[in-house]
């Protein structure tokens, strides 16, 4: 289902420096976004993801490397080529960035205006776009009169006006409450599926990635530490940053408990089978759960659980054997 490569980022580096400071925002980053996929770039704040997405349409200019759009280097383009390429890329922002002195309709019309689309044609297109984002009745409202979610919808309609091939989303849901975030994510997914528009989004929330992305790159310290299909990266996440973002590792390193314990790693076991309950019922062993951090993805469980060490050696062996037979990894912790 992979389409042709649309955006290829090759060995991209960006350093911000002034007299006193030198900050490496991007360090030798390479990744490829294919047509029609939803590509997520995730990282903690300061990981360089915002700089990365801004290099795609050259709002920021990297110090080294290439950004190829359909094989053509954006960084080598002259002004005219850059402007016409930018018109094929819509972009939405955390703070919406609507023109505050223009109505909703006039905002959505802006990209059409600058592209010289005829008046009547532009009007029809504006209505069509507001229809897509469900704001037909707000044509003559001003952005100040809208809620955050509505503003982002206007921004999306505006970004779609020029019929872009790709939509760049710079923390598009970070300023929104959870319910509004859901509706915007659903809208983005719908746009991807119905209009076939490729989406590149950056976020610090793994939930956003898990909900709508096909592929993901995890950024840490200006570098791609992991990249691949969302499901695979989630299962096989190796990097510290990945584990923290997926919630497999707590934000702070997990401390081992004082008493002897067993660490059970759920690595894609079926979420439907009540494994712990079965263990207790079938073997009559009482289990004391110390802590658990389990996430569900595609009907499977991922994460870790810490249980108190059974007092008897025999019980312990039974527990370990049972869990391992269910496809889990069990490690002893703090066993003298």
């Amino acid at each position: 289902m992979k389409g042709a490569p649309l955006i290829e980022i090759i060995k991209l580096s960006k350093v911000f420096s002034d007299a006193e400071n030198r900050v490496v925002a991007l360090n030798d980053i390479s990744l490829t976004v294919h047509e029609k996929e939803i590509y997520g770039i995730v990282g903690m704040s300061g990981a360089g993801k915002s700089t990365l997405i801004r290099c795609i349409n050259r709002l920021d200019t990297p110090n080294a490397g290439q950004v190829l759009y359909r094989g053509r280097d954006i960084l080598a383009m002259d002004r005219r080529q850059l402007l016409s390429t930018r018109r094929k890329m819509g972009m939405i922002f955390q703070q919406f960035n609507l023109l505050m002195q223009r109505t909703v309709g006039q905002n959505v019309r802006y990209p059409l205006e600058i592209a010289g689309v005829k008046h009547a044609q532009a009007n029809a297109r504006v209505r069509e776009l507001l229809d897509i984002v469900g704001l037909q009745d707000k044509l003559n409202a001003y952005p100040a009169q809208l809620s955050g979610g509505q503003r982002q919808r206007v921004a999306i309609a505006r970004a779609l006006a020029s019929n872009p091939e790709v939509l760049l989303c710079d923390e598009a849901t970070s300023a929104l409450d959870p319910m509004t975030t859901q509706s915007i994510l659903t809208l983005l997914q719908d746009i991807n599926q119905r209009l076939g528009i490729t989406i590149v989004l950056i976020t610090h929330e793994m939930a956003v990635i898990r909900q709508i992305c096909n592929r993901v790159a995890i950024l840490d310290g200006g570098q791609v530490v992991e990249e691949g299909n969302v499901d695979e990266v989630f299962v096989h996440t190796q990097s510290e940053a990945g584990k923290r973002l997926f919630g497999i590792l707590p934000e702070a390193p997990d401390e081992d408990p004082e008493q002897p314990a067993l660490r059970i790693v759920f690595d894609g076991a079926s979420a439907e089978k009540p494994i712990m309950a079965n263990l207790i019922r079938e073997h009559g062993i009482l289990i004391n759960i110390l802590s658990a951090n389990i996430r569900h993805l595609g009907g499977k469980s991922y994460g870790q659980m810490l249980i108190e060490m059974p007092a008897e050696l025999e019980e312990k062996l039974t527990v370990v054997a049972y869990l391992e037979s269910q496809g889990m990894t069990v490690k002893e912790v703090n066993n003298q």
Partner: protein, 219 residues
């Protein structure tokens, strides 16, 4: 002095004041506005960075701004004569008014345009706007309420400069208040001309703040 005569005098003064203020403001804006735009867009992280040009332009404007109007009026005398055909008179004063006001206007415009959120400009850039489109369709319209407010302030400043026009043989309410009122000890003329000036300033300020509120859609 009879009431009728006084009214006639003030009416002429008012017209002369407006005759100096309005054209001077308009023409000074024609020069100051583009300079204000340049001061903003050539900043280091703005749309057309040209830091060295920006520094030089800023320094020249600051230099011009620091010359008091009354001194400029005298200094420019030969230039005014060459440009306006005569160095003295109400019409001639328009030239030094323009020279004195445009650097001030450039700074006012710069301030207004600087208030425009950088994110909005970036969004418009991301849509493939040319620099000219950014200036004309984003920067200026988004700053319009503040620009209108600034224009009222600039007009009041130019109006206050016209009060000194008597130094170059110009007319207007200021000249009436000083020459006919103060120097000739006719306090009725002095006060009435001054009050009229104050009212004019109030009117311009009110019109400015009213329109500013009226055209602003941010809340």
């Amino acid at each position: 002095m009879r009431m009728e005569q006084l009214m006639q005098l003030l009416w002429t003064g008012l017209l002369e004041t407006l005759y100096m203020t309005i054209p001077a403001t308009l023409i000074a804006y024609l020069i100051g506005m583009p300079l204000g735009v340049l001061l903003v867009v050539t900043r280091k992280n703005h749309m057309m960075p040209a830091p060295r040009f920006n520094t030089v332009l800023g320094a020249v404007i600051n230099f011009l701004r620091s010359i008091p109007f009354i001194i400029l009026l005298v200094l420019l005398f030969p230039v005014t004569r060459a440009v306006m055909g005569s160095g003295i008179g109400t019409r001639s004063v328009i030239f030094p008014l323009i020279i004195s006001a445009f650097p001030y206007i450039a700074r006012m415009v710069e301030g207004s345009l600087n208030e425009v959120d950088r994110g909005i400009i970036e969004a418009a850039q991301s849509m493939g706007s040319t620099s000219w489109q950014l200036i004309r369709k984003v920067l200026i319209p988004e700053a319009m309420p503040s620009l209108v407010n600034g224009a009222a302030i600039c007009m009041v400043t130019i109006l206050s400069y016209t009060a000194m026009s008597s130094a170059a043989g110009g007319g207007g309410l200021g000249t009436i208040a000083i020459v006919k009122g103060l120097n000739m000890r006719q306090s009725d003329i002095m006060y009435s001309a001054s009050i009229l000036l104050v009212l004019l300033v109030q009117l311009i300020s009110l019109a400015g703040s009213y329109s500013t509120k009226r055209i602003d859609h941010r809340n």
